[in-house]
Amino acid sequence: MAKVKPQDIDCVAYTKGPGMGAPLVSTAVVARTVAQLWNKPLLGVNHCIGHIEMGRRVTGAVNPVVLYVSGGNTQVIAYQLKKYRIFGETIDIAVGNCLDRFARVLKISNDPSPGYNIEQMAKKGEKLIDLPYGVKGMDVSFSGILSYIEDAAQSLLDSKQATPEDLCFSLQETVFAMLVEITERAMAHCGSEEVLIVGGVGCNERLQEMMGIMAAERGAKVFATDERYCIDNGAMIAQAGWEMFRTGHVTPLVDSWCTQRFRTDEVEVTWRDDSGEPI
């Protein structure tokens, strides 16, 4: 395939966390085995930082405020003094989780993904239903809007006050507006002129569009990738692992345990200097 030999490999990167325990451990076990067999250094990578570093690499964004949105995570992140600091996040569930669970209520297909199908249906929605808006300072909350729409969906559909397309449209417009608001708040805080959207929900073109409108009003630019890089992938772990390795990180076996909770700001970003420039 890649026609690369063990001698060509410098290090072995794997996901240390965050995420679900069993899948994390299964890849870690294989990574540790390969690293030992080939006598290569091991790098335990933070999954969120994988997304950030892939986004920076692919888009060329220099020092963006990052909106990381997926089924499992919702964070607004900005680099400051050797850390990817979390400026805002969900206080309950991730936005992707909210969308996926809403799709189940309407029995929307999982093929190719519930989020993709909600996006297509939303394009045909016309009516904006009033839904609870959950911005709390720098943070967001989605469990309220989810339980509201789970309860209200059937009666809205039955009474013909809304079509399924209207509900998809309304949910997207509301949750995306929330995300745009907390991103803007972080940008104002940091004086940033760039927004980078990463994570599976980042594929959504309406989210990119809404973010673009806000950014343009501030004279800022939005960077986003397509589904090859937004969605979880191994290359992003390798990219972050490489940045870590070339600037001195190594994960000894005894520290290579996987963890379901791993905050983005726990990692020392050795590959960027105090002003955010690459080292």
Partner: protein
């Protein structure tokens, strides 16, 4: 009688059950690689204790838990990870396992 001596053994062990598994490898180096891959992750359940060591060419695992079903769960999961380790060795290791 058999049952009362088992009961006493369990009581002496403070009510804990234990199970030991010995996995032979073609070389001590490979047993050490397996150890390196399998020791770092703690057991998700605190009541289960897993201890690994290498003895000559064998990887030895000792599980301790208060209930048999917990031993079963830990053992099952360990076998899955052990299987992945061995498959990885077969796929990516040197042609002759004695070379490691």
């Amino acid at each position: 009688m058999a049952t009362s001596s088992v009961k006493k053994a369990v009581e002496r062990n403070s009510g804990l059950l234990s199970m030991e598994l010995r996995v032979p490898f073609p070389s001590q180096q490979l047993a050490i690689v397996a150890y390196g891959s399998l020791f770092p992750d703690p057991e998700p359940r605190k009541e289960i204790v897993k201890k690994l060591r290498v003895e000559d060419k064998e990887l030895v695992v000792l599980f301790t838990a208060p209930q048999a079903r917990l031993l079963r769960v830990a053992f099952h999961s360990f076998l899955d990870h052990l299987d992945m380790t061995i498959q990885t060795m077969e796929k990516f290791g040197p042609a002759d396992p004695q070379d490691v």
